[in-house]
Each structure stands twice: as C-alpha cells, then as structure tokens.
Symmetry: C2
Subunit: 345 residues, 2 copies
C-alpha cells in the first residue's frame, strides 16, 4: 500500500512533514510517498537515514496557500502538491492522501477531483477527540465542512460515522449521539427534532440527544452535529485544554515549594500533557468523497504527522470508502423499493 503525504501543506512544511514521514516509515512496512517540490524534499530527506524504496518522492512544484480561494486554486493549480496528491488517489496510485494544507482546498479537491459518493449530498469532516477519563476516543461528524445541515445530511453523517468507528476503532455497534440543548426528545430546532425521529426509526445504535457537558463522560461514540456546532466543540475543547495546561504550568512553578510539589508529580503532569496533546490523535478524514483523504491540523509537527499516518492505515486498509458506498447504495435501494411498494398500494 502506498500512502501519499502532502510535503508542502501546513505551518511547518516541509521540515516537520518530512521528519514525521521518516519516523513513521520506521514503524510500518507501507510505502510513504512525499508529494511536493522534489529538490526541497530531497534536501530535508538528506538529514535522515531512511529506506529509499519505502520513502519516495512525487514531484509537484506548486503549492496552494491558506489565503487562496479553494475552488479556484484546485481548478487552476494542477501542479500543486494538493492536486497531484488527490489525483494519485483517483488514479489508484495511492491508497490515501494526507495533507495539513487548507481545509477548504482539500474539501474542494475531494469534491472536484474524486467526486461525491452517490447518495451522499455533502461530505463531512470527521474529527477524533480523546475521551480524557476513559482513555478512549469519539468521532465528531461534522467537524466543520457544513455550517448548516438538513436532516438528510445529518442522517448521512450518522451512517458514515458509524462505519468509520466500526472499521477504524473496531467498535461493534458505535453509539450515535445527537448534540442538542437537552437530552429529552423534542429538544432543539425542527431539523434536530426530525433527525431524532429518523435516527430512532433507523437500524443505527442511536442513544438519543447528548449535551456538550456530558461528552467527556463518553456518552456516545459518534458525536453527530452540524459543522458549526462540531467546529465549536472541537476548537473549544482544544482551547480549554490548552488554557488549563498553561495555568497549571504557571501555578506549579510559582515558588520553591510548588516546584518541589511539581517535581514529585512530574510523571502525572507529563501524562496530563500527553492526554491534551492533539497531535496524539491523528488527522480528520473527509467522509463522503470517492477516495480516502485525511486533513491534518495545520500546526502539526513531526509527531502529529507520524501519528496521522499510523492512524490512517486501518482507514485505507479496511477500505472504509467502499463500505460507505455499499451502505449508501443499499439504503437508496431499500428506500426506492419502499417508495415503489407504497405507490402500488
């Protein structure tokens, strides 16, 4: 299997991306292909010992920046690392493409180069978040692709999130929770009320409405919401954890006594830090396009890149994209059969 990685995307590209890829290559046997400006990538690669058959380079001289209008950039910059990488997935040259570049561009690239899976109206970004208490994880869908969603979008996100959790996290029957302002049925907007009813009627393991307050109590595995709410959840968690860690750091180094206390607690403080370190949890797949694409956090350093590659392997190997295609096709077939039979009555 070949894993293509955008060497030019993100705040620390290509230095940290190349480093992360070399580190990942030492832990796996799959080929990692760095996509981007070849001379620049070779310059970075020269710093390390690596297997030349396993870490390869695909030249792409152009770069799409965060400032560019995504759709226009994808359409005009054919030689960019983003477009070349996504085309590798399209042409079967790579099983997956990973990028820390602009979310808008990877989304547009997915839509225009790979296309939507038939039956999926809007692709979604799925982000893995840590369940701090249990040590497990949960998946937020949508984490920011679609600020406004209809019932059918949310239902499709639920189906995709369910399959992702089954395949990648090895969960038997992922618990689907609908983010709402209260846990009672009948809460929230009309869209949420109808989605609640449809989820109840579906074969998914729907556990009802969930409140943002209880998410860390691991009340569900798929945190279902529109992209605005998902984005707020994800970023708020990240911001709050970061703030709390920086306050702890400041308070625990206040004086000699606190420094002694902190020294005794050092292994526990390190564990806490690791828990809150977002680069431990890998990137976010774009679910709903005809190919495996993963968006990494723009701020990821080598460790984040390495972890994203490692976590991407089951997604590509278990061919989650094909499972989604099959499930959605089966759903559409069942729906049209139902329609037909109700027309005949």
């Amino acid at each position: 299997m070949r894993i293509a990685v955008d060497a030019m995307g993100g705040d620390h590209a290509p230095v940290e991306v190349v480093k992360g890829c070399v580190e990942a290559s030492r832990l796996i046997s799959h080929e990692i292909c760095l996509v981007g400006d070849e001379p620049r990538i070779r310059e970075e690669l020269a710093k390390y010992e690596y297997n030349r058959n396993q870490v390869t380079v695909k030249h792409a001289p152009d770069v799409i920046t965060f400032e560019e209008a995504p759709v226009r950039a994808i359409r005009t910059k054919k030689e960019s690392s983003m477009v070349v990488g996504i085309n590798m997935v399209k042409d079967g040259e790579a099983a997956i493409f990973i990028s820390a570049g602009s979310s808008g561009a990877i989304m547009a690239g997915g839509l225009f180069i790979l296309g939507r899976i038939p039956g999926i109206d809007r692709p979604a970004i799925a982000a893995t978040i840590p369940m701090l208490k249990t040590g497990g994880v949960a998946l937020i869908v949508d984490a920011g692709a679609n600020p406004e969603c209809k019932v059918e979008n949310l239902m499709q996100f639920a189906v995709m999130g369910n399959l992702y959790c089954k395949s990648v996290f090895d969960m038997e029957a992922p618990r689907i929770g609908l983010v709402n302002m209260g846990t009672e049925a009948g809460k929230g907007s009309g869209t949420l009320k109808t989605t609640y009813e449809e989820l109840t009627a579906s074969s998914l393991n729907f556990v009802g409405n969930v409140e943002a307050r209880d998410l860390q109590e691991s009340v569900c595995d798929v945190i279902l919401c529109d992209g605005m709410v998902g984005n707020v959840l994800l970023k708020n968690l990240e911001g709050t954890a970061k703030t709390i860690m920086s306050i702890i750091q400041a308070k625990f180094t206040e004086n000699v006594r606190t420094k002694m206390g902190a020294a005794l607690l050092l292994p526990q403080i390190r564990e806490l830090k690791k828990m809150f370190d977002y680069s431990e949890y890998g990137g976010a797949p774009i679910l709903g396009v005809k190919g495996a694409l993963i968006k990494m956090h723009g701020s990821y350093k080598a460790n984040g890149v390495k972890n994203t590659i490692l976590k991407a392997i089951p997604y590509a190997e278990n061919n989650v994209v094909a499972s989604i295609e099959e499930s959605v096709a089966a759903m559409s077939a069942a729906a049209s059969k139902e329609e037909e039979s109700s027309e005949q009555q």
Copy 2:
C-alpha cells in the same frame, strides 16, 4: 430595593436557596424576599440568625417542575413560586426575580407575564463565563434560548450584550465577537456573513469573527452566537473543566509520592478548583423582556445562590432593562427615519 428569589426552584431547593439568601443578606443591605411555600421556608429560616426585616417571605404554595410543559405551566399554575415571583417584578414589588427553576418556564414567564421589549423579537439568555487566564469574564449571548437565529436576532443580542457588559461589568466599549468557524470575513453560513456586515456597519465595537479555540484568550467581551452554539460552548467548557479537575484529583492521589506533591501544591490546586467552579460566576439574565429576571444553574448550592444575588445587584440597580428599552427605541426611530427619507428621495 427588593430582590425576589424563587425558594422552590432547582435541585437543592429550598434548603440551599434559603441558606444562600441568608448568607447574601449578611453582605448587602437590600431586602431579599423568598418566594414559595411559606411554612417550608420558615422551617429552613429557623436554622439561621437573620434580620427579619431584610429576609422576608412571600407565600406561593405551588411549584413548576422541570418535567412540565413551560407555557402551559405558566398559564395554569398562578400560585407557583415562578409565576408569583415574576408578577412581583411586573407589579414593581421587586426589582428583580432570581430562579434556579426550569429555563423554559422562566423564559415563558418572561414572555407571557412581562412581555418583550418593543423592538426585540426574541429574548436571549446571557451567560457569564470566566476568562481563566486573565481572571476576567465574558458574556455568551445567546446561551440557549433560541436554537436558530436570524440576522436581526443576532443584532439585537449584540445590542443587549453590549449594554449589559457596560452596566454590570463596567466595561467602556465591550468588544463584540461573532462566533464563527474562522476569523476571516466571509466565513460561515449566510446568516453569519450578513450579521458580520451589519455589525461592521454598526456603531458597536465589533472585533470580527472569533473562533471557539481563542475564546479563553479573551479575544472579546460579548461572545455573540445562536442559542445552539452558545449552549454547546457553555456546557462544553463546564464539562471539560469538570473532567480535567477530576482527572487531576485522581492522578494526584495515586500514591504516597504524588500525595506529597499534591500537599505542597494545595493552595494552587484550591485556586484552580475555585476558578473552574461555576457557582462563582452567578446566574444568567433573560435579556429582552420588560423586567429583570435571572436564571440560576439548577445545581447551585448556597454559594451559587449567594453569588447570583450579589452579581444581580448592579443589573437591577443600573436598570439595564430600561437602557435596553431606550436603545432599541432609538434604533427603531433612526431606522424608520432612514426609511422615510429614502422613500422621499
């Protein structure tokens, strides 16, 4: 000034509510009137030393529960502590009414008993959150009353939040931030885009889009968003802080060594706990109704009740409700004048 408090609302009523009122009465000179079942309240009051002229009781034999449909409950339970208390505000018998009862009921009571301020289409819940790093606060509007909002609702929330921060937090020019998925203009839904433009054109101190990740960096004073997003923000912050504190507690008591470390850090850990304790920050006003109503967290104990009363005083004393009425009337007058002159052209 008389402050009316719902003695029967919340998880720990009347025990903790009465205790909190007595504690608050020792710190202020205003009258606190406990509204609810008089014999039950007197029984609780008998446990304390208090000034009988300052802590009074208004009998209301009925209670509205969390399970009841809010509008129906407000319309039928005329003798409930909630309805009696809100009527005290309407009749000028109390400057403010505070309740830890059902949000839906207090909202419905505000709408049906007091009525909306002319020019405000939808009242909002405004929640104060701590800025952990700076020790300051920020105001989320709407924190959960309106899951879906139009541009005009958000604009009205901005005006009300601005006046609240000026009067209650003594801010000169509160910074209004619009919660969005990115900080650039042109992000998010159509509603958010138009709101961005209108805020830019307004006389408010609009600082642009803000991301959930940066809120703890004190990027704005009024966190403007629809009720769904506000509710998620508020509850996620609460849940994350609670989880992190419980993990710290568990990790720091793991063994003899960590317990020694924690003992050395005890004052710092206590400070952290206090920072994350939501009962330190008081209740949430219902902005946009013709009277001062404050909703407390259902789980508040005496300390939360006491703090809510203390923080409610500037809201009532500075007559923020009247300021909102005046501002909105002036805005409407200006808008209709503009319309008139454009018609004449």
